[in-house]
Each structure stands twice: as C-alpha cells, then as structure tokens.
C-alpha cells in the first residue's frame, strides 16, 4: 500500500515537474472544467477548451490563463482555493494540490497548447460599437420643410420635417398669457409679477434674454444639475452629519450658471478643480463634486467601503457627464454595453488618489484659495500650533496654573497614556485651562501672525495628497479583498482610438483627473455635448430627445430626433459650450412656443408625443411649486446664496427619527425659512416631507429625471399642511391690501398673481359664490391647489 501511494505521488511529481498538455493538463480541464466552460456551455462567458478564449478570460474581464504567470492566472486562483469566496469547481471534490501544481507548472512554462488553432479564429466585430452615440456627432444638414414660415430656427426645421413626413401640423402658438407664465416658470421657476405682465410688449426674444440674465435663472437651473450629481448636505446613516461648508458647492453651481460659465470649464472644475493650472477658491469648491454622495461613517468593511465610495464617484461621473452605465462593469464585463471591467477599473484609477479629509468620524473642510495662499495659511497654522504647544507646556510645568495639581498632571500625560480618571480630569478641566492659556502672552504673537496672514474661507472637497496614487487593481467579482491584475488610468476604450496621456508632469497631484476631465470636455468625446444638450432639452420639454438622460448606451432610449440632437450638440460646441445660448435658441423656437392643446388623431398615433406635435404637459417640480406659492403670497425671501435653511417640518414627521429632538432645527424665523427651496437642507435621513411627497429625486445616486406621481398623501400635505395654508393666509392678506375689500377685485388679482391670467366668467361666478360662505383665505388655499397652478399651460 505504501509503495502504491509512493508510486502515485511519483507520477504526480513527474507530471508537476514537466506536465504534458495532452497527457496531464487537457484531461484535467476536460474532467473538471469543460462541463461549464467548454464547447457546449460557457458559464460567465468563459471557455477553457480553446487557448485564445482561455487567455481572454470570461466576463470578469481578467484572463483565466496568463502564459508564464500562474500567479496572475485567474484559473489558478480559483482552483487553488486561496480565497474562500472564489472556489472552482463549485461542485465535487476540490482539485488535489498535485493537480493544481500540474496546472501551475504548465502555465509557468508558457501554457503550450499543441494543436490549438483558436488564435486563428478572427474575433467577431462587436456590432454594438456601431451605436450612434459612440461616434462623434457631425452636424447634419438642416432639412427642408414646406411650411418654412413656421421655422424660426433650425430646431423648428428638424421638428417640422418629421411632422410633415406624416402630413401633420404643429400645434398652434400658445396664448400670450400662457406663454408668458410658461417662460417665467421655465427659466426662473417663479411666475411673472403683475408689473411684469403689464409691461410686457410682445418681444419674446428680448424676454428670454432678460430672464436668462436674472439670478433666479441660476437658482432654478442649478437644481437640475444638483439632481444629476446626487447633491446632499449630510452623509446619511446613523449620525447623518452635516458636511461642513458642503452647501458652498450648491452656490458654486448657481454662480456658474448665472455667469454662463462654459460647460467645458464647468466639467474641468468639478472633476479636477484642484489640478487646474489656474486653480483657485472657486475651482476647489467645484471639486466638492466628488464628495457630495452618502457614506457610512461606521462601515461594515473599510476596504470595501473605500471602493464603494470610488464607485459612487465613477457612477456619478459616467452617468452624469457621459451617459454611460459603467458602474455595471464593477464585478464583470457589462452585460449589455461594450464596457469591460478594465474600463471600469481604469476610470477608478483616475479617482483613486482622492481622499476625504477627516478626523476620526468628523469630516473636515479645508482652506480655499490659490495654492500659494493656502500654503502660506497652512504654514501660519503650523507656526501657531508650535507656539501654542510650547507655551502650553511651559505654563503647565511652571506651576502657575490654578487647576488642581492632578489635573495639571493629567494634561501633561500623552493622551494615549491617560487612564479613565485622567481622561475625566482632562474633559472636566479643558475649559478652565483654555481660559488660562488664552491669557498667555503667546496669544499676542498669534494675533500678529493672523493679521499678517489672514484666515481663508473654507470649502468641502476631497484631496489628493501626493502625485503617486495607490495602485489600482481589477477586483475579482468587485470585491476589494480579491485584487486581480493592476490597471493604469484610462477612459472607456470604446470611445477613443488612443488613450489620453495621464502623465503627472511634475504636479503636486497625479494629474489623472485633469487629463480625464480634458478628455471628457473635448470635442472628440462623442457623449459629453450630446448628454448635456439632452438634459437641457429635457428640462424645457419634460422629456429628452433621448428619454434615458443618464443612459446613452445601446440599452438607452432611441432618440426621437437623432439628427436634431447631433445638430444641437455640434452647435453647442461651436458656440463656446454656452448654456445660456442654448436656452435662448430653444426658447426662440416655435417648437417651444406651441400650445399644449391636444389633437385626437395625433394622440392616437403618437400618445407619447414623441414627434413633438404639441408642447407637453408636465407638473412643476417640488421646488417650483413651493417657490411659486411664496412668490404669489408675497413672502418669498429673495436672498441668494449662503448656508442651507431648515423649513418648518411637521412635528410628527420627526417621530420616525432616532433623534427626534436633535434632527431638525426649530422653526423660529419665518422669513429666514421662506427662501427658495433650493436652499432647503437636503438631509438624507429626513427629506422635507412636502418635497419628498412631490417627488424630490433620489439623493443617493445620479438622478436622470424627476418622477411625477399623484397620491393622496400629496393632496393631504398640499391642502391641509402648514406651508400652503400659511401662504394662503399671506396671499389673502396681500389681496386685501392690494385689491381692497371688493370680492371681484380680489378674485381678479388672485388669478393674475397665481396664474398670470384673468379669471373666466365661470370662474368669477364660482369664486364669488364661494366667497359668500367661505373666507378669502379658503379661496387662496383652493387657488394654490389648482391643477393649473402646478401644471402651467
């Protein structure tokens, strides 16, 4: 028996020493692997019976066999079972160590595969690569139309050409009063005032220019972008702490839009504001983009958590700027798109240098300015700290402190050496000691230093602390604990002929994000311009030309007007990537000015209005509904910018919190809380209920589009809730003051303020009858709840 065993192991030893593919390797693979990864079945798209396929690997995007390198071959990793979560074969006995050794030796010797012809099998061209959005847009010719009188600009030609092809007519122009309200709400999120209604003389292009120049434009449109970049003021989870200075990012977006910053620059600043040659306070704030998402400050697995956060940045970047669902390629090649794990981890490598400045669980903000200013400031801080440390030590040792000697002794201990008693002494006496230290002469020197180098404002962003970021590996099945081959930074392969250069060029950081951002914001990038043009279109028309605004891949929606979106994308780039010019173009079209009147025949054939035979109905977003109510009631606080505000929230809504007494700031100052809703705090563990029920977006991921639902709790909050009833009271008081006591005048003014039109005869009659029994406040409540209030004509 013993000799038999010995004999067997000798055979194995011989095989392991010099394995033969035909005799040792192929039978083993055939017996244990081909069942699932062979000619008949290719689980996880892996095939091991042909060399080319085995070298290519399966859906993990990692080669199963790397000739000469068994250590990098996924096959060995799986069969040797070093990682308990990654074991193959999944059924039957594990491979014996001798068998693993055979495979290892064979691979290390070059993975010879006699008789294999698979290399000659030409790889099939991937038909998905022909997808329209993966190729740079070329400006198409403007199509000829019969009704050329309708065409105010090329948008109309593209829309009309499609309608005429069906023999259809565009809807007539909207009534002036309706169009006026539509324009105001669309651009500024606020209805026109009476003075604005009265003074308008029919110059629509002039009006759109004038409205785009207002600060309220940025306050409305910034929110569209904040939806995309998953903006929130807190990080969620147990402590759900406020991000210090985090709100400055929101202001940055408002300012950028109001200044009509080119979208190219807007991209560069957010992705790489700290790496720009002309980096300054503003661009550092922009870099806060990477740090807007949620995270758990008590993660289950810190290594996973690190990747989850990089995944959050990648997901937002790929959907937000590129309209690609690249995050689906974290664990395996994308199931539907021509995107691989290499593409995924290549983009992870771009961001892998970033870190959140923090002290334990406390998130930190950082001084902002030009880098030399920041360096001077940091130097000052270091000087001050050294001075104070020395003075503190001298003071404690001098015996002059009035503190108890035990407390002094406790302070003199290193924090890590302190026992509980000493820690308590330190806790209890810190205030007293600080008071003593504040009176020391060193503070004069500190004051001088502070005069010499003043404080800097602060901002909230991630930072790269060196020019060499950590190595990035493909993670097998997306697990941080299972690193595969290392990958360099890259952009998705399918979009470029060659990768941009990611060289650091002697920068203080890796420069990877800057290189990446320059590619994102380049004309060569087929997606960026199309994606933003489509977002702007969606915000004006309710639906995008591509209705999946975050997904321009092969799984995305087919464009309703492919030529139009390409024409717009090229026009946008030719016009300095100016969003305001794009708005003006859209607002200047007859397409935008159509009425919302339906047409039974067209509706039957095209119920989705994909051909844009009319202007579609859509509910205003939560923000615009609330802001309009405030504007109508006369209580809108038009202060721009600054820290978030806490609107009044129903006490009952706080009951679901684990910290009902601390989670929300008390409502003490109505005027302060009557700001536009974009300034409301976005607290991830407690969304403002009225905003939430009005379909505020998901704040944890890049949001493509707001939903519109109509459910009873919405009606309850709008009809019975504090906010609308409060505005109804103010609205009524305003009517009494401005229109006097006569019901007729009050009704007329109410309609003009809320709906920018006069009441119809029927409405006048209904309201007059109502006011005989009910109060003006009640009438105002009804008006603020009208469908027409939330759905502009």
């Amino acid at each position: 028996m013993r000799s038999l065993l010995l004999g067997l192991s000798l055979v194995c030893a011989a095989a392991a020493a010099d394995p033969d593919f035909v005799r040792d390797v192929r039978p083993l693979l055939a017996k244990r692997c081909f069942g699932c990864h062979g000619p008949a079945l290719q689980k996880s798209h892996l095939r091991l019976d042909r060399r080319a396929d085995a070298l290519h690997g399966g859906e993990s995007g990692v080669p199963a066999i790397v000739p000469g390198k068994s250590g990098e071959s996924l096959l060995i990793r799986y069969v040797s079972g070093t990682d308990a979560k990654l074991v193959m074969p999944p059924a039957g006995p594990r491979l014996k160590p001798e068998e693993v050794a055979v495979l290892k030796t064979w691979i290390d010797a070059g993975a010879e595969w006699p008789g294999d012809t698979s290399a000659a099998i030409a790889p099939k061209a991937d038909p998905r690569l022909a997808h329209w959005a993966f190729h740079a847009p070329k400006q198409p010719a403007i199509p000829p139309v019969k009704n050329s009188a309708w065409v105010r600009n090329p948008i109309d030609a593209f829309v009309l050409a499609k309608l005429e092809a069906k023999g259809w007519q565009p809807a007539p122009r909207a009534k002036d009063a309706d169009l006026l309200r539509r324009m105001y709400l669309d651009i500024t999120g606020l209805p026109p005032t009476l003075e604005e209604q009265d003074s308008f003389r029919g110059d629509w292009d002039g009006l759109s220019r004038e409205l785009l120049a207002r600060g309220t434009y940025g306050e409305r449109w910034a929110r569209h972008w904040l939806d995309v970049v998953r903006y929130g003021d807190t990080n969620g989870y147990e402590r759900d702490a406020v991000k210090p200075s985090g709100w400055k990012f929101r202001d940055y977006v408002i300012r950028s839009l109001n200044n009509d910053k080119s979208f190219q620059r807007f991209v560069l600043e957010q992705l790489a504001g700290d790496e720009l040659p002309d980096s300054d306070a503003e661009t550092l704030l922009a870099t806060g983009y990477a740090r807007l998402g949620p995270w758990d400050d008590e993660p289950a697995d810190p290594a996973e958590d690190r990747f989850d956060q990089l995944d959050d940045i990648l997901n937002t970047t790929s959907q937000g700027f590129l309209g690609l669902t690249l995050a689906c390629a974290r664990c395996h090649n994308h199931k539907f798109e021509p995107l691989t794990t290499k593409d995924y981890y290549g983009m992870i490598a771009v961001f892998n240098g970033l870190d959140r400045p923090r002290d334990g669980r406390t998130e930190l903000d950082r001084p902002i300015g030009k880098w030399p200013e920041i360096a001077r400031f940091n130097e000052r801080e270091a000087k001050i700290k050294a001075l104070r440390d020395a003075a503190r030590l001298a003071w404690l040792q001098s015996g002059q402190s009035k503190l108890a000697p035990e407390a002094v002794a406790a302070f003199l201990q290193a924090p890590k050496d302190r026992e509980e008693a000493a820690r308590k002494l330190v806790r209890d006496s810190t205030k007293a000691l600080d008071a003593e230290l504040a009176a020391l002469p060193v503070e004069e020197e500190v004051a001088r230093l502070k005069r010499e180098t003043p404080d800097l404002p602060r901002g909230y962003f991630m930072e790269e602390r060196s020019a060499t970021p950590p190595a990035t590996h493909i993670l097998i099945r997306g697990k941080a604990s299972s690193p595969g081959p290392e990958v360099p930074p890259s952009v998705p392969t399918l979009l470029v002929k060659e990768q941009p250069s990611f060289a650091a060029d002697g920068m203080r950081t890796s420069g990877r994000r800057l290189a990446f951002a320059r590619w994102v914001a380049s004309r060569e990038n087929p997606l960026t311009a199309r994606v933003i043009v489509n977002r702007v279109w969606q915000a004006h028309f309710g639906e995008g030309i591509v209705r999946t605004a975050n997904d321009f891949g092969v799984m995305g929606d087919k464009p309703s007007h492919e030529e139009l979106i390409d024409w717009l994308a090229v026009w946008f780039m030719d016009n300095g990537w100016s969003l305001k010019k794009l708005h003006a173009l859209i607002l200047g079209s007859n397409t935008f000015r159509m009425s919302k009147t339906s047409n039974a025949k067209y509706a039957a054939e095209d119920p989705e209005n994909r051909l844009l035979w009319r202007m579609p109905y859509r509910r205003l977003e939560a923000e615009a509904i609330l802001d309009s109510a405030l504007a109508v009631s006369g209580k809108l606080n038009r202060t721009m910018y600054g820290e978030f505000v806490y609107p009044k929230v129903q006490k009952e809504a706080l009951e679901g919190s684990s910290d009902p007494d601390k989670i929300w700031a008390p409502f003490t100052d109505e005027n302060k809380a009557s700001r536009r809703a974009i300034y409301y705090i976005v607290k991830r563990s407690l969304m403002v209920p009225l905003m939430e029920v009005l379909d505020l977006c998901d704040t944890t991921r890049p949001s493509a589009k707001r939903q519109t639902t109509s459910v009873a709790p919405q009606a309850l909050q709008l009809f019975n809730g504090d906010f609308v009833n409060r505005q109804a009271k103010h609205f009524a008081a305003r009517l009494r003051e401005e229109a006097g006591p006569a019901a007729e005048a009050q009704i007329e003014r109410a309609y003009r303020l809320a709906l920018a039109r006069k009441p119809t005869e029927a409405e006048r009659t209904a309201m007059t009858a109502f006011l005989r029994q009910s109060s003006l406040e009640e009438m105002c409540r009804v008006i603020l709840n009208l469908n027409e209030f939330a759905y502009a004509n």
Partner: protein
Amino acid sequence: MRIKKTRRDFIWQTGGGFAGVALMDLLTRDNVVSANSILAPKRPHFPAKAKRAVFLFMNGAPSQVDTFDYKPELTKRNGQAYKGALTVGSNGRPVGYLMQSPFEFKPRGQSGLMISDLFPHTSKFADDLCVIRSMYTDTAAHASGCLQMNTGSIFLGKPSAGAWVTYGLGTDNQSLPAFVVMTDPRGGPIGSASNWTAGYMPAAYQGTLFRSGAAPLLDLKPPAGVDDSTQRRSLDLLKTLNEEHLAAHAEENELSARIASYELAYRMQAEAAAVVNLGNESASTRARYGLDDKLTADFGRKCLMTRRLLEKGVRFVQLYSGGGHIEDTWDGHNDCITNHKLHAGETDKPIAALMEDLKATGLWDETLLLWGGEFGRTPTSEGVGKPGRDHDWHGFSMWMAGAGVKGGQAIGATDDLGFAAVEDRVHVSDLHATLLHLLGLDHTKLTYFYQGFNQRITGVRGEVVKKVLA
C-alpha cells in the same frame, strides 16, 4: 407587417420610465390599462396564501441566546473567556466572556419548540412559529444593519421590503396607505425614514408613518379653524375648477389623477380616523392587548391598530419596538437582561393578542408575520460583571408565522455557543426572498427599471428557504 417588440420598446411606447413599467405589469396581469393606478391592486406572480404582511421589528437587535436559541453549552462554559476567532462590532471591540442566559428555556406546545420565558404569551403560539436560528447578515452597525434588514442592502437609497410588496401587489384600499409604519414613542430606528423608503422608486410606495393619536397621518386633518363643511366646500370648489380645466385636456391622465388624489385624501381622513378610534373595541379586547397596563399599552395599541388596518386591506404594516439608542431599544450593551425583560415585556402580550385575533377573524390564513431585529447579540458579555451583550451578525434568530408558513419548527442552527450560524445558514436576502415568495412574488422577477437596466429591487442575492414553506 408584424414587428416583434421587446419589453423595453413597449415600456417606452406606453409611458416611459416608471409609468410604463407599471402599465406593463397591469397589462400583462390584468389586461387593464389605467394610468392612474400606481397603487392599484396587482395579481401576484403566482398564487399564494399570504395577501398581507406584518413585520414586528425588534429594533436594536435582540439576543438569540436569550430568546429562541437554547444553548446549554453556553451555560456550562459561563464566565470563560471566549477563545474563538469571531469578532464583534465594526471597530474591533473586545469579544469578552461567555455569559449564560438567565432566562429559562422550555419546550413549548406540541412541537416542543424551545422558547425562553421572556415570551410567556407568544409561547402559546409555539406550534405556529417557524424560528430561523441560523440568520446572518453582513454588518455589525445599526445603521447599515437596519438598512440591510429593511432594504436588502447596507447602502442608503434602496427600496424597503414594504415598498417591494406595495410595488408588487398594490393595495386593496386606496383610502388608507398601502404600507404603514409605526415607530416607538422613544424614537425611530437609526437611519429613520431610509428604513421605509421607496428608494429609487416613486415616493408613492414608501412607508407612511402612522400614529396612535387623533391625527394618525401627516396633515390628515384640515388646518385649525377649518371645519368639515368648510373643508368639503373648498374641496368641491377645487374639484369644479379642476374639472373645468380638465375639460380642455380630457386625455391628460396626470391631471385627472391629481383630481382623484384630493378625493382620496378626503376619504383617507375619515378612514384613518376610524382605524385609530379604538372606542368600539371591548374592554376584554383592550385588556388582552395590554392597553390597561402602562408597560404594554403603547405596543398594544399598535398591535390592535395593526389588526384593524389589516382588516381594512392595508398591505404591509411594520411595527417598531424600541427607538432612539442603546437601552431605549433592544441594544442591550450595558444590561441585556434588564433590557430584554423590558422590551419583551412591552411586546409579548400584544403580539400574542394580535395572533389570537388574526386566528379568530380568519385573517391568519392570509397574513404573514415576521419577528426580529437587524442582527443578534453575542453569547459573551462586554466585560466581567457587566451583563451587556454586543452586536453579533454571524448568527441570530428570527421567526415567521401565519399564511403559508410551516409552524412549530426551528430551521438551522448556530454553533454550540450560539455565536455563528453553521447549519442551513439563512442570509437576510434569503429571508427576503422567502417573505416575497410567501406573498406570491418571485424576488428574481420583481424588477424596476433604474440606472440603465431592470434592477432586481431586492438586490442580486437570495434563495427561498424552502423549509419555511408549509
């Protein structure tokens, strides 16, 4: 020419995004098209006994070795230092010393299911309980643990179990919320509303907080000074004006849905007020639920309201026992014994009364009950002489009962000390798959189009635990 259309093409043609998916489901299941029916009842994927569910969430994490997982070996080794490899908490806290349960375990009912004397009332239903002793989860922190138990994911932003069921089955009663949540007077769970969120789905599917007072729902009552006739008059005016406006746009479903929502809200006002009005419950019923005892009154009221909500056709009710932090919840870090006596004492009798009533009314055969917390507690104490137990996510117990559940059994096992699940391990996602299966929903088919593809709303994990099924 007939063109074969993909599901996605169809979705985009019928409404785009969510509306399209909902329509699709309605069409395929009921041959009905209605754009206003985001919460309309829908047929399950396959016939199932359970129509409704109640999740009794023991917030803070109850200890398995003190409740449903009898461990004589732990008693034998009481006081010994723990020598194993398992870790505690998320930040490397000491594992401590083995600590026996001070509670007596007895075989209960015909089945002889072992239950500790923390639950004298629930124990009477031992033959109805299916205890899963081999639960495990992925995290030892409350925030992510509660999220995982409620949404299947440790990350913020995923829809919760009540939202899944509401999305999958709709609701039979449009004038009450489909998914009701009742929290503890001491506060909500850590993570608050993210535990009953609809996540990336429309807010219509999210849990609605329901209170026991006169105004159980947010803004249910008209503002102060507005009586019912004024309210009705105002609503009538609103309706008249909105219908006039609609006349010019008759095909606009969103506008008519919004008109309907105000009428539903008005009906909800009456219905919800009726549910919380316990005046017509007999004195003996009130006593059975423990309304006459300060200890049990709050949870008792919630259980009684739960019965009344189920009777009205509410789809999913989640009750929280414990709220806020540490000892105000089942999170017995300092003194697990006193802690569990309190929280079990508050809930045991009301839960038993609910079970009794469900059986008496016949609702039992259509209602699924689920009991448990976000994870378990260690069989060790946090220090010598300190009877607190730390978080244990390697193994813990939960129970299911009611429609479709095979009662009187325990599934799976932890190791000899009750620390980690070792036999028939059941991951939280497996529990979720089982919960949905019992309600007639296939968790692999319950998908929602989001972030570029049809996502499985429960996440990618999960296998139905067949042993649970009757």
